[in-house]
Amino acid sequence: MKPFIRQISWWFRNEILAIPWRFISFAFIILLFFIPLFTQQPYILRVLIITNIFVLFAASWDFLSGYTGQFNLGHALFLGVAAYTAALLNTHLGLQPWATIPMGALVALIIGLIVALPALRLRGLYLALVTLSFPIILIGIVNAFPDFLGGEVGIYGVEPLTSSRVLAYYMVLLIMLISVFIMWKLTDIKSKLVRIGIILHAIREDEITARASGIDTTRYKILAFAISGFLAGIAGGLYVHFVQVAGPSTLAISLSFNALLFTIFGGIMTIYGAVVGTYILYPVIDFLRLNPFMDQIRIILMALMLIFVMLFMPGGLTRWIRDRIEVDCPRCKIINISSRRLCRVCSAPLHLDIKRKSGV
């Protein structure tokens, strides 16, 4: 038993405490678990729950569009389809949330496979246009069948997720953390267990070369669509059971656009960037709603911020910060805090390229 504890503590000191970014994430996750102990205000819990749901949504967008490079402009399709499925199952058949959410996610997965069909032949702008069109078609269908699908007002009277809001908070938080952890591990290039990370990376960088190297890119693209659709579908099920209405806003272009905004702000192609972006932007956007004037210029601020991030910080916030607080050892490639002068493992000098940076 003792060596095991020693091993854990060694791992904790060297893999988490020594790397600032991991330490910050660790502290943040611990903080999230303790928030209901400090405050149980319904409004704050509500904002945090929806933030967690959007984290899942944005991260699944990043998995498909950022990491795999299949640029999906209609990601709300998955969320909306799952939301409508869960709402219909709940209101018509009376199924409970534990059944409707997975079933909604499964339907979203199937939709993901259907969307993947054109995606296999298209890419770049064409793919973006096609994926943009799916949720708009669905909005048209929803509005054309108001009796069954609720039309513009949506489907009312969906059961709440759980009886108490604190319980709902922990449930959503756990689902979010597990899903993001799975996506983060799947996209880990250095992983020796999972090969899919480096394959998806290769598909993003150069699909033809990946295919020439013997990778069945079709299969992996379908897989990426399925995983992303499933996780976004879980987000949709959670969302509809939390707000208790499934309306056309769950399919709206602005919702897909939110996933884009959060992810690009946080840092595209890194799953944790979506987490950071959503946790910074969504609460701010929701607090702005309290002030009537700020509520009016909320979307203007969002659009301007997106433009400026894309123009001046194309790597996103997390990369920009990581470049400043972390440095890779030039000899052994281990991550160090940038205030160190020598590497913590091999004691090689870390800041060799300072002169090159200043332009000398």
Binding site: P118, L122, L125, L129, G140, I300, A303, M310, L311
Partner: protein, 307 residues
Amino acid sequence: MAPPRLNISIIILRRYPLLQNIVANGLIFGGTYAVLAAGFALVFGVARILNMAHTAFYMVAAYIIYAFISMLGMGSMLVSVLAIIIAVILATVCYILFIDRVKQHDLTVMVITIAIGMLFQEIILLIFKGDYHGVEPFIKGYLDFGKVRITYQHIFIILSSLIALGLIWVLLAKTTMGIAIRAISQDRVAANLMGINVSRVILITVGVSAAFAAFAGAVVAPNLTIYPQMWMPPLITILAAVVLGGLGSLKGAIIGAFLLGLVESAVVFLVPLGGYLREAVALVTMLIVLLVRSEGLFGIAFEEEKL
């Protein structure tokens, strides 16, 4: 006795006023869409910008006309010219500020233009609030063709869209600038080596495209409900039209626009609650075309975009 061999389509048109309505409305929708799609395709061909804010200039023009007519009661011709000038200035300023420095990255440009479109929508929402408005027609009166009533305004719309398309053709075929535009859309590097100032031509193309969008907005303003989200439905249709005709092909864009105009008007007249399905039908048409023939009807297959 054998029936007289008349042109069958004329018989159908005479007998079913519904069909006449569909064709008339299809031409009206299609004309507007064609002017919008032509400007859109022009910018895409020259600068490789998928300008999602294209119809935002159409909306800006409609709002300017609404503002002047409702507040000052000024003459509509003068206001239309003013609206076009303002749209051109806005478009070029947006291009210089936001697009110019990232124009190599297609998808970044696309996302930024969506953001610009939303920016316009929200600014207009701030100024004019979210109400629905209408504008008095410039020309009153109507003509009766059998059982179909066509207002002079509709004839005016069709005629002006034909004039606008003619102007684009003259610009592209008869002027030096048009030759430069076509040269750049064929091969940018070679055009640059031949001494064409590529960035200046792109800037002018962006301005011309915005001018045509504003022209379309000014002409159809009396036919529309004016509200801050009005840029979305035509944007979706012209995207579908441009992809249908083949990205980068002007002829394809115009034919695609008229085709979708007819399809949309058929859906509106034939399907109950069809007004909601207009965009859906246009997009389904686009999807089918892309699945069958991924370069569109008249498009050039760009090797780097095919798999």
